[in-house]
Symmetry: C2
Subunit: 249 residues, 2 copies
DNA sequence: CTTGCAGGATTGTTCAACAATCCCTACGCT
DNA sequence: AGCGTAGGGATTGTTGAACAATCCTGCAAG
């Protein structure tokens, strides 16, 4: 890139789009492909918390080498979806109440900061940046109407991911991705997705409307209370469940 | 909060210390050991940004297999200390101004939230939790007196790491570790560590004293301004440097 | 000056083997 | 019987070699 010039902005963003497409087509392949499959299995609950992932077993299923599989394990480990126990293997982590508190602490810090920070850059922010949020809100409402509560949960997650996306921070995006993946891990312990997700459909909409009206401080306060409430709700649901299925030894 | 068993705290932290020592002794060995060495080489500037890390070359130096070395690469990649370019190898990333803004955005969100959050849990917080911070402040002052400016930078980093540590959040700790490692990457581009670090010696002390006096809101406001100023300072220093050593072709 | 094509070098991935460690069971001792 | 311990089997950690795919360099042709 040696041709300097202000005129170049248009072409540069164009090149960036192409580059992104190329990167998507031939991504590191085997290892990441295996990781994708495992990620879905975990986040969708096929692999319950505490389960061990045998290497030889998965090499056959995924049709990759053991080394490549281990690389996939490393990827997921750093997303918080797997934990390594030295000389014992990889396991789906079993999160406890302390993790709930930890995760929500982070969520609050990040999301509230993003919303509050929107006030400082309001003029730059095009209105259509809120469109993904709007879509997620409507998707959640539609899924709720069809009694598809896991889909409501997914739409809710996407809403918050898109909310973070407003900050244009690659690191916040990555971090939120991991954070929400871990949260999804927690949801599978809870058997009543409806009571869990239902209250947040309306809250997401009202939050969206506050953003649309550019009442950012109000939105931030609302979001804070929102997350405090959500944490409390999950904690209690989690404890009830925890007392229900403890050790069987 | 709730949770009984206040008496148990002493023993629990004791066990945790032992467990940490044990874990340090027989850690995943080869791959992580190799990663440790590389991490130091990178954060201390031996490997400049943009440098490529040859596989065959490093297998000889580190005396590990290529597969193990690649696992070490993956570890560092997810810490942001290396970047993979498909079929071309691993490189020390070259961060730009956008990364500075991104990193500082995160720092502000996390650190300010931690300090502000201390107000809510003040009664629980033992006074000796502030000791590590105090040590770091004095270490920075001592290093400055001896004209050892890189050491000042290290002490400054530790100060902020310990600051985050007050939140008792494992995820915030890990995140901050990666964040500061990336920042260290940036510092090596800047040739004048003195001008960079000197102003923060006094600011760290005053921040510490505010914390000691439990004036958390005031400390949070101070820290926010602190980080804004630091970001601006690094941005300008970075730009001056960027115009100084661009193309050599 | 650009285009096209070898050749060499480097990375991506697999495979098979061995060493190290963990888990479990069975044995021997008090 | 109870308890510590040694052995066997399974699993992970690590290695080295091998092959395919891709990138970079230099050179020749248009």
């Amino acid at each position: 890139m040696s041709t300097g010039g202000a005129e170049e902005t248009g072409r540069q963003s164009w090149l960036r789009t192409v580059a992104a497409d190329v990167a998507r087509l031939d991504r590191s392949s085997s290892a990441e492909r295996a990781a994708d499959i495992l990620r879905r299995s975990i986040t969708e609950g096929a692999l319950p918390p505490g389960a061990q992932l045998s290497e030889v077993e998965l090499t056959e299923v995924l049709e990759v080498s053991r080394n490549t599989l281990r690389e996939a394990f490393r990827l997921l480990t750093h997303e918080g979806l797997l934990v390594y126990k030295l000389h014992r293997g990889v396991f789906v982590p079993e999160l406890d109440e302390h993790d709930v508190i930890d995760l929500y602490r982070l969520r609050r810090a990040l999301e509230v900061d993003v919303v509050r920070g929107l006030a400082d850059r309001d003029p730059e922010l095009p209105a259509d940046r809120l469109e993904p949020l709007h879509d997620d809100v409507e998707a959640a409402e539609a899924a709720a109407g069809a009694d598809r509560w896991p889909a409501v949960g997914t739409a809710n997650m996407r809403f918050h991911q898109h909310l973070i996306g407003l900050a244009d921070s690659a690191r916040m995006d990555a971090m939120t991705g991991r954070l929400l993946a871990e949260l999804r891990l927690l949801f599978h312990v809870i058997a009543t997705p409806r009571e869990l997700h239902e209250p947040y459909i309306a809250r997401n909409r009202s939050l969206f409307e506050l953003l649309e009206a550019r009442k950012y401080d109000e939105a931030a306060a609302d979001l804070h209370e929102y997350l405090i409430d959500s944490e409390r709700r999950i904690l209690t649901a989690f404890r009830d469940k925890g007392l229900q299925s403890p050790r069987t030894t």
